[in-house]
Symmetry: C2
Subunit: 348 residues, 2 copies
Amino acid sequence: MKLRLIAVACSAALLAVAPALADDTTLRDQAKGAGLAALPFGAGKVENNPLIHEKIDLGAMLFFDPRLSASGLISCNTCHNLGTGGDDNLPTSVGHGWQKGPRNAPTVLNAVYNKAQFWDGRAADLKAQAKGPIQAGVEMANQPEAVVKTLKSMPEYVERFHRSFPGEPDPVTFDNVAKAVEAFEATLVTPSAPFDTWLEGDDAALSDEQKQGLALFIGKGCTACHSGVNVGGQAYFPFGLIKKPGADILPPGDKGRFAVTKTASDEYVFRAAPLRNIALTAPYFHSGQVWDLQQAVAIMSTAQLGSEMSAQDTGLIATFLTALTGQQPQVPYPILPVETKDTPKPRF
Amino acid sequence: MKLRLIAVACSAALLAVAPALADDTTLRDQAKGAGLAALPFGAGKVENNPLIHEKIDLGAMLFFDPRLSASGLISCNTCHNLGTGGDDNLPTSVGHGWQKGPRNAPTVLNAVYNKAQFWDGRAADLKAQAKGPIQAGVEMANQPEAVVKTLKSMPEYVERFHRSFPGEPDPVTFDNVAKAVEAFEATLVTPSAPFDTWLEGDDAALSDEQKQGLALFIGKGCTACHSGVNVGGQAYFPFGLIKKPGADILPPGDKGRFAVTKTASDEYVFRAAPLRNIALTAPYFHSGQVWDLQQAVAIMSTAQLGSEMSAQDTGLIATFLTALTGQQPQVPYPILPVETKDTPKPRF
């Protein structure tokens, strides 16, 4: 009893100069208790789409192939650039005809661990997601039939679809394009972030400031929305739960998940952003209007928690968030099949 | 004498059913005599720019980094896509603001072996070339100062420039950006094309049709312009030397090298296209208006040689040209440094 009182007194003394720092074991238990989890090695799981090497390789080719777009200029990688954190570092993406998309491109990295895809969760999984941008007029502006015609015009692609979907008599389909892309994307995971290494027992993997930031991240309630393997991406919440941010950050015209469910309570509801590699994917929020991670934390604090956090606290949380940057996927740039006379010409 | 007459008679008899096919040794001597040469393994030579691994790796990063453009969207690889033969498969490239460029993007593959760069040879070498598109308003639309500011804002880039240009106190310069890109591009060579393997003694590396096509390529005079290691790219010639092609293929507004030299005799003069990997880089000519290789051969025949070649002959030459497709460079897709608060924001 006496010892415990001394410990509390010591903690209180420390508290005066910096946020309380629990020992690593306690903090680790708190993190796990709050639903945070290490990212597994290897590809994530996908449903109704067996992962085989041939299909993953085909998906990599499709992911990088600009001929999936009407113009022949825009690939999945244009907006989900694997060299820059799996996104494009733009407020909102630029697509066909230099049109600007309505929302910030989410990272493809670890997207396999999201509950659903897109900011409003309108795609149940990666294979459903993959079909969207290919067809969106402001993105790749193509049609499924044209995509299939393009792929069927190149014998190497046809052969690779046969090997990727063995037993299917006519495997070059838009559905299988999406499945191959999903298979590749399931491999785009970033394990061994400092946070993961620490979570698995290496006390030295996080700095003291990062541990203080983690303690705040849990203690202030951030983990209520940002938890699970992907530190978010698991459920939907109103943006501005307590206080709506300004119209620059939350444009009134974009009602989020309401467009999907047509339910009044889903107005301005979005999927909580997954925070892995967040230090690589500025600018932030669906509107892409905030470039600074600490500022993004401050906005979240006011909007979602209803508290003005001190600059010290937002700084510590932002520092913790940098510990979510994992090992980026190493991908050989694929050599693509050559067009033939039957390949549809670029349209732009 | 008698034997020789018999040989001539036999050749004449063969000639009646198909173009004369010399034995491999003779044809090989003819090819070498006409200035054709095998592509060496390894990086090409560049001047005043020592090749070191650090610089080549830095150049690869810069080549793939869209933040060298004003918009943050367009990289060297956008128009010189290493997955599709080192070009973009478009008639003319699309750049900043979806503007269309004036000429077809030449392939970056083996460009180190060209006498000079661009269709009009206005850049003496690859490092001079690299500075053009970054600044061109219709391409990457950036300024040297902004490029340097962008790169200096990212500590990893600064460190890599120091390692790439050891001894320089302030190595992050626009000149060194160009040198690093040149160093990487010098490695983008495609050896071991079937033609190279044949030229080095493997009779089986070319089909009979390809050998017939090669014999025609030499015999009809194509090698007068398309010779050397790069099967072209060595000198300048008027497009339409004998007969001007139509305005769709040779737009009157683009006077070619005349814009560089201001010499009347350079009107409609262009660098002879290097023909390696030509089967991968449709559409053809500086105007990018011809999608079919055999048709391109037919146009060349009429315009440059003044003869209407038979469909059989143009077909055989086109078949030979497919033997110039070499092993494409295998490049790991580079993971790029992350922006900081000092990185200029994308402008678009």
